[in-house]
């Protein structure tokens, strides 16, 4: 266990270093975008106002308010301090709505869309991949090409295809939104039904992409494991094929766990495409809005969440993986 502790501390150190770097980049990058966000807001607010001194006063008030007239370094420390207090500031575009509030209302859309989709896609994909590897004949010839096709279509391709076929042509599902735009979020049947209907296309577009990628990976891992020497030995020691298949799929599955944890970690980033195409009110969609409106606090907050989730997922993978897979455990001990 001593080796593991060292491994843990090492990983933790790197986690912290990456985190710090990420926070700095998260702060700086949006601010390097060309354009002046306050000018945009002021222009909107000051519509009809004719005196330039009045405009200037409004501008300075907002610049003060958002802190963008201070030196960048001061802004940064303020930003960090605020983050630790759970304060991401006010959104520029939806001023005075706090960024935290925007995130709170959109993050659940993303999580409820992505999480089940990733899990379902992972399970179906791995099952199909394993079956393709084991059955080979026929089945493999069908699953593999389809998986390669879907797995290599860009995510937006799948989403657009679904959108065109099922929403535009067949009109089975709505084209956009998280629920009917004429409804108020309540716990009524009408609303819940609307949510379910709106859920389908974004959900399946993510599931399909996940299935494709997972199935290919699982198939090749399983084929590799099926030809491993331990399979031959176990067979000749009289162990039943069913048991051996169990060995093989467990071993093939372990690396796939990494894929699962990673997709959960990159959930928000991964959601972008589906959310944007279906105008689904999740974090990805909010990020797009933030970028379009040069909403620094919103962009920083969303990208920070994305970064954090990826980092935590990676960290968790390495820790858990080191525990569940003796092959990695042994490698750590060295």
């Amino acid at each position: 266990m001593k080796g593991y502790k060292k491994y843990f501390l090492n990983k933790l150190l790197w986690f912290v270093i990456t985190l710090v770097a990420a926070v700095i980049l998260n702060f700086i990058l949006p601010r390097l975008m060309p354009g002046d966000p306050v000018a945009g807001i002021v222009a909107r607010l000051a519509q009809g106002m004719s005196s330039s001194t009045g405009m200037k006063a409004v501008y300075e008030k907002y610049a003060e308010l958002f802190g963008i007239n201070k030196p960048l370094l001061t802004q940064f420390f303020l930003y960090v301090k605020n983050i630790f207090q759970g304060n991401f500031g006010s959104s520029f575009t939806q001023y005075p709505r706090p960024v935290l509030d925007i995130i709170k209302s959109s993050i659940w859309w993303t999580v409820c869309l992505q999480f089940p989709a990733i899990i379902v896609g992972w399970i179906i994909g791995n099952t199909l991949g394993a079956i393709a590897a084991y059955v080979k004949k026929g089945f493999d010839k069908v699953i593999l090409p389809i998986s390669i096709l879907i797995g290599n279509l860009p995510a937006f391709g799948v989403a657009v295809i679904l959108l065109v076929i099922f929403a535009v042509d067949l009109k089975w599902f709505p084209t956009s939104g998280g629920y009917g735009f004429d409804l108020i979020p309540t716990m009524s049947w009408q609303f819940v039904w609307s949510v379910i209907v709106h859920y389908q296309l974004p959900f399946w577009s993510i599931v399909l992409v996940a299935i494709g990628g997972q199935a290919i990976g699982m198939r090749s891992m399983s084929i590799y494991e099926l030809n491993a020497d331990y399979v031959k030995y176990a067979r000749f020691m009289g162990i039943k094929d069913r048991k051996i298949v169990g060995y093989v799929f467990r071993n093939a599955m372990l690396p796939q766990v990494t894929g699962l944890a990673l997709s959960i970690g990159t959930m928000v980033g991964g959601a972008l495409v589906a959310e944007i195409i279906f105008s689904y009110p999740g974090l990805g969609y909010m990020l797009l809005q933030g970028i379009l409106g040069q909403d620094y606090p919103l962009i920083s907050a969303v990208t920070l969440i994305i970064t954090l989730m990826v980092l935590i997922a990676n960290f968790a993978i390495e820790l858990i993986y080191g525990l569940i897979d003796p092959r990695i455990k042994a490698a750590q001990a060295e």
Binding site: F236, K243, Y247
Partner: protein, 335 residues
């Protein structure tokens, strides 16, 4: 003559490859191993030794296929038996096997004891885990392996320890005959000695009744097995006692194998070294005549035109060469 544990008559098996080119890697092989005896099988890489080992167990899966012949283990004919019956009643219990790549023979994510449980339960689902543990611990102790190995994953063991563990696991069901495929080849000299000693111990202690030891180094078999069989291109080219095979080889290939390896073994120090030039033939299209003809120093035109039979010289000795024993001994003496 004592009881025959393994009898193989005219066994032929083939690999059916992806492009449907058959590889006859075991070609009309017959052999006998008696109780208390060990047989060494020698030959260069690619001669079909591992394929023979797999073929002996009567349990085939693609790409290896049974073609013809007969395998009898302790009086029981296993060729023609239903595969699941072979699995349940023969594999591990009558005949066991140590694969060539014993380093990778154990499932990396399963503890040794759990794998032993799988092996035992595959033959008798009623045994309790405690009995299995007790048996495993006792066996490990007899074989000089530490008990804590049982609770380890294969990756946590050193190469030599892994090899010895595989041997211990192979004999857990007290098989009558053990086939060890190059059990020492990938190891350092110390581990090699340990492994060979362990195999001899198994015989000595009666944990197995007979053994087949496969190696590409013929001289290694001296002091290890009672009899030696030399394989070339899927066929037996010589059968003899270890003493004869090492000091009085008849087939030019056996003679060549004796000269090709540095042997630190006692009594064999002054052998001249020389590798056999050339490579074994492609088994997809084996030559019609003597398969060794291409590489043989003593070749004459007749060697290449018609197949050569395995010639018995009496007392279990046999060789596959166009020349007489006397002629061969004479030319070897001249050098």
């Amino acid at each position: 003559m004592s009881k025959v544990i393994l009898e193989v008559n005219d066994l032929t098996t083939k690999y059916i490859t992806r492009f449907h080119e058959d590889v006859y890697a075991v070609d009309h092989v017959s052999l006998k191993v008696e109780e208390g005896k060990s047989l060494g099988i020698a030959g260069e890489s690619g001669c079909g030794k591992s394929t023979l080992a797999l073929s002996l167990m009567g349990y085939y899966f693609p790409p290896l296929h049974f073609t013809s012949g007969e395998i009898i283990i302790d009086g029981q004919r296993i060729t023609g038996m239903d595969p699941d019956t072979v699995r349940r009643t023969i594999l591990g219990t009558e005949i066991a096997y140590i694969p060539q790549a014993a380093m990778n023979a154990l499932n990396p994510t399963r503890k040794i004891i759990n794998f032993i449980e799988d092996v035992i339960l595959a033959h008798d689902p009623k045994v309790s885990r405690k009995d299995i543990y007790d048996l495993a611990r006792e066996r490990f102790e007899i074989l000089g392996l530490p008990e804590d190995v049982l609770q380890k994953y294969p990756v946590e063991l050193s190469g030599g320890m892994k090899q010895r563990t595989v041997i211990a696991v192979s004999v857990i069901l007290a098989p009558k005959i053990l086939i060890a495929d190059e059990p020492s080849s990938a190891l350092d000299v110390t581990s090699q000695k340990m492994v060979i000693k362990m195999l001899l111990d198994l015989m000595e202690k009666g944990m197995i009744k007979s053994m087949i030891f496969i190696t590409h180094e013929l001289p290694l078999l001296y002091n290890v097995t009672d009899d030696i069989m030399v394989m070339y291109a899927g066929q037996i080219v010589e059968k003899a006692t270890a003493q004869e095979a090492v000091f009085d080889p008849l087939h030019p290939y056996s003679k060549g194998l004796m000269g090709s390896i540095i042997v630190p073994e006692k009594g064999l120090r002054n052998l001249k070294l020389s590798a056999i030039p050339g490579v074994p033939p492609n088994l997809k299209k084996p030559p019609t005549g003597c398969r060794f003809a291409e590489r043989c120093k003593y070749v004459i035109p007749e060697c290449k035109t018609h197949p050569i039979d395995l010639r018995e010289t009496g007392e279990g000795r046999a060789y596959r060469c166009i020349f007489s024993e006397e002629y061969l001994r004479k030319v070897y003496q001249i050098g």
